[in-house]
Symmetry: C2
Subunit: 353 residues, 2 copies
């Protein structure tokens, strides 16, 4: 047995040495993919207490299928030479249109039984950004965020003002009922019921979802790198079940929920929004890369596993840098996620690594 191990090791050493001594031209011929400028895309569909034992095989398959559809839609844009911003929109719109995720159709309800949607987008090339909060009548919140970025003098619009702007810009408007799903209405009813029961209300009861237990999370997001080296990030959400007082979470906050900068990375967050705002989480990862000169995965890990965790915050991020390095970091039991890297390698995950 030992002899076999030794033999395999020797073979490995020889083959490695051969690769090392290959002439440059030959290397190019055998590895053409790595010579192309890197591209890549990562998506998330929310983080929280997502446990395998709470999910049927059918539910799991449905999530994986939709995650694959979304990440593939975005990757297709990049593969055909398109822009990272378009890839982000394409991937997020698949998730906004699916009732599985807390964004667009299937968004959670406020205490008053309304859907108030938030979204933001940022372009790493020129640091331009757009964000909307508290909208109920625009079909694609992420598209409106992009329109705010590109067609208004402002970064952030809210409520009926943002909707008036959407209408002026000719975006597709819908009846607020368009976002309604029976499942989310049931979640709201249960959350209100639990609130009444749990007198020592600790905020944990404020969100109830059959697949994301005991948590307040659920947001979709995407980050992408295109062949021109441009990074983009976007996030879209229905916020928190049973939310009140026109609460604004981290999703529409540039620096907290979304950030992109070609000099560092693109980040989209999902989690307990209040902590992500206080920790300026998305920008903090970029700042660590830029100022401490550390790689993306290390920066993400330090921000999520050390800083956010120390504050008591929970959730996760997806990120990509200019070299195509990908990070999917979370401190919850699960995060719906998927990526396709430069080599076209698809990766889908739900539970812990």
């Amino acid at each position: 047995m030992k002899f076999v191990n030794f033999f395999v090791l020797m073979l490995l050493i020889i083959s490695c040495k051969q690769t090392e001594t290959q002439p440059a031209a030959e290397q190019e011929a055998t590895k053409p993919v790595s010579e192309k400028p890197p591209i890549g895309i990562v998506i998330h569909g929310g983080a929280g207490t997502i446990l395998k034992e709470n999910m049927t095989a059918e539910q799991e398959a449905a999530y994986k299928e939709k995650l694959e559809e979304a990440v593939t839609a975005g990757y297709k844009v990049l593969e055909e030479g398109g822009e990272s911003l378009d890839a982000v929109i394409a991937a997020i719109q698949v998730m906004e249109e699916s009732p599985l995720f807390n964004a667009g159709i299937g968004a959670v309800f406020t205490h008053e039984g309304k859907n108030e949607l938030d979204a933001s987008i940022m372009n790493g090339k020129d640091l331009n950004a757009g964000a909307v909060s508290g909208i109920s009548r625009v079909k694609s919140p992420i598209q409106l965020a992009r329109t705010v970025m590109e067609k208004s003098e402002h970064v952030m619009l809210s409520g009926t003002g943002a909707e008036a702007f959407a209408q002026e810009q000719g975006l597709e408007m819908v009846d607020p009922d368009y976002f309604y799903t029976e499942r989310r209405m049931e979640s709201l009813k249960r959350a209100i019921e639990r609130e009444k029961v749990e007198l020592d209300h600790d905020g944990q009861a404020a969100f109830y979802d059959p697949f994301i237990k005991n948590s307040k999370y659920g947001t979709v997001g995407c980050v992408a790198l295109d062949k021109n080296g441009n990074l983009a990030a976007g996030t879209s959400t229905g916020g928190m079940t049973n939310k009140r007082y026109n609460r604004i979470g981290d999703a529409p906050i540039i620096g907290a929920g979304t950030y992109a900068n070609n000099v560092s990375c693109a980040v989209s967050s999902t989690g307990w929004g209040e902590y992500f705002i206080r920790g300026v989480v998305a920008y903090d990862i970029a700042a660590k890369m830029e100022y401490q000169k550390i790689p993306l995965q290390q920066a993400s890990k330090e921000v999520i596993q050390d800083k956010l965790t120390a504050m008591g915050g929970t959730g996760g991020i997806i990120a990509i840098d200019k070299s195509g390095e990908i990070s999917m970091e979370f401190n919850t039991p699960g995060m719906y996620r998927a990526s396709i890297d430069s080599e076209g390698q698809l990766n889908i995950g739900i539970y812990e690594k």
Copy 2:
């Protein structure tokens, strides 16, 4: 002449040497102030094209008097051993109640002729934060931001929801007319008139103020360090004259308009909000201090004079760090500002340094 110079130099050297060799006890007796923990406070009342030639002596005196009143109100809290958060509230409320500044009474009007107020506050000790946007019926927006921080599970509330929360918490409510001033209504009328005339509307016409020309700025803010080494920052504003679509600027955005962290500094911004959001300006100064290990003044200068200016953004910040070092950095012709340092030294400024 040379001999005199030499003589003075020798005297200086001797006196310095004497100071150096003083016993510790004696040093304490002669310099008691520096043995106390440092305290300090800085305020701003907006930045923009504030030019001496556009202001009468009376106007200048009125601004200086109110700035002194505000900074002194905050310093008094610190001097008596109070908390930096209370100092920030005390100073900002003086400016919210003065029609001279674009916050509280004297806030600018939206396109529809309403006052929509924004504010935020952050505690450097525990990174807790509170923010409100688009409120019209709460007397002190900065007080509401603090109540959101301390009494709600959320960081950011908006519009009528934020007002409902204020009412539940027993905050002083006012009629929206409470914030009305004739001067700001005239500014709105002029802005709308100019918009009609200037067909090639470039966004510069959107704000008109007799004292802050050709700009969109006007916000009040305060940062403070108390004797326990706790930093706090707060910002309050009426936003932009003639603003539409429920635009949200940087003032209520943690990381952009306001940031405080005991490990680095407390910052409040004023300027063209969209650029401050995209640059995550307040947190960027703190991040540079923490990650690049550079002093506050250098970090502020790099963020405002290099990064913000390169983006095309204009405005300024006030900041203080845990040692009591103060920074008042702006790239506009003027910024209403005042500070009182550890030694009790008052400093008031309006125009360029």
